[in-house]
Amino acid sequence: MNALQTKPRTVPLSKRGMSFETFMWVFTRVTALAMYGFILVGLIGAIAMGALHEMTFVEVIRWALVSNPGHVESTNVQDIAPWASAFWRTVASGMFLTALAHGIHGVIVIVDDYVASASGRNWNRYISMAMFFVVMGAGLYVIWKA
């Protein structure tokens, strides 16, 4: 430990206040943990529905990431019905929307690092938000209409 670290260098949140940037910083971490929760639910569900006999390791990963019925179509699963229940489509929608919000924010952060002009950063936000709604509509359609 060097001398610099004897005093805490972080200001407590109560003194710092919660700006939009701070909120999104927390949001990124919270959604990361939430996605691990969704993956765990998907994994346990897949094992309970017989994935050990009908799916390969990578197919289980794909299902656990987004549990939509389309992700079991190309596997050896005989009866898709339990995999296509409203419960699993809801889990898939939760994972998808969490990942989409996390990802769109991530894209804005990355582009901001390489685009410094105010207008460029505004366009970054307009295009990213437009993509958010387009992909959200398409994704929910894929999850619920398959």
């Binding site: 990361a32 996605m35 990578v58 190309s74 990355i110 950063r121 387009v134 992909v135 398409a138």
Partner: protein, 129 residues
């Protein structure tokens, strides 16, 4: 609005960082890879369901083994590195002094999970030929 860093891409790529920088840049590559390819995957599946041939053609690329290995790299590295970042932020007082060792542990976990997944992709492809 974020910080005005204003670093050109060429200078950013020329930075000779070590382990933590490699994790940072691979996290970006993985995140950007997912943003581009999962967006395309969602849109192409939507197109396929609406009866457009372009969606079918794109999803054939997505189920090909080389592409699956690439996207698994993006997803698994981003997920495992993201968990490492989140845990360091939650328990920063305890874990931050050991962050380089923790990155080494992260690589062991990543290589095991990604290696197993990549082998599974290849074995499945061979099994279905």
């Amino acid at each position: 609005m974020g910080l005005k860093r204003n670093v050109p891409l060429s200078a950013a790529l020329g930075y000779k960082g070590q382990g933590p920088f490699l994790a940072f840049i691979l996290h970006r590559v993985g995140g950007a890879g997912m943003a581009i390819f999962i967006t395309m995957h969602v849109l192409s599946t939507f197109a396929e369901m609406r009866g457009l041939a372009i969606g079918d053609a794109l999803n054939k690329v997505y189920t090909s083994p080389p592409f699956q290995i690439f996207i698994l790299f993006c997803v698994l590295f981003h997920a495992i590195n993201g968990l490492r970042i989140t845990l360091l932020d939650i328990f920063h007082a305890k874990l931050m002094p050991h962050y380089r060792k923790i990155i080494a542990v992260e690589w062991v976990v990543f290589i095991l999970v990604f290696g197993f997944a990549a082998v599974s992709v290849v074995a499945t492809a061979i099994g279905r030929m």
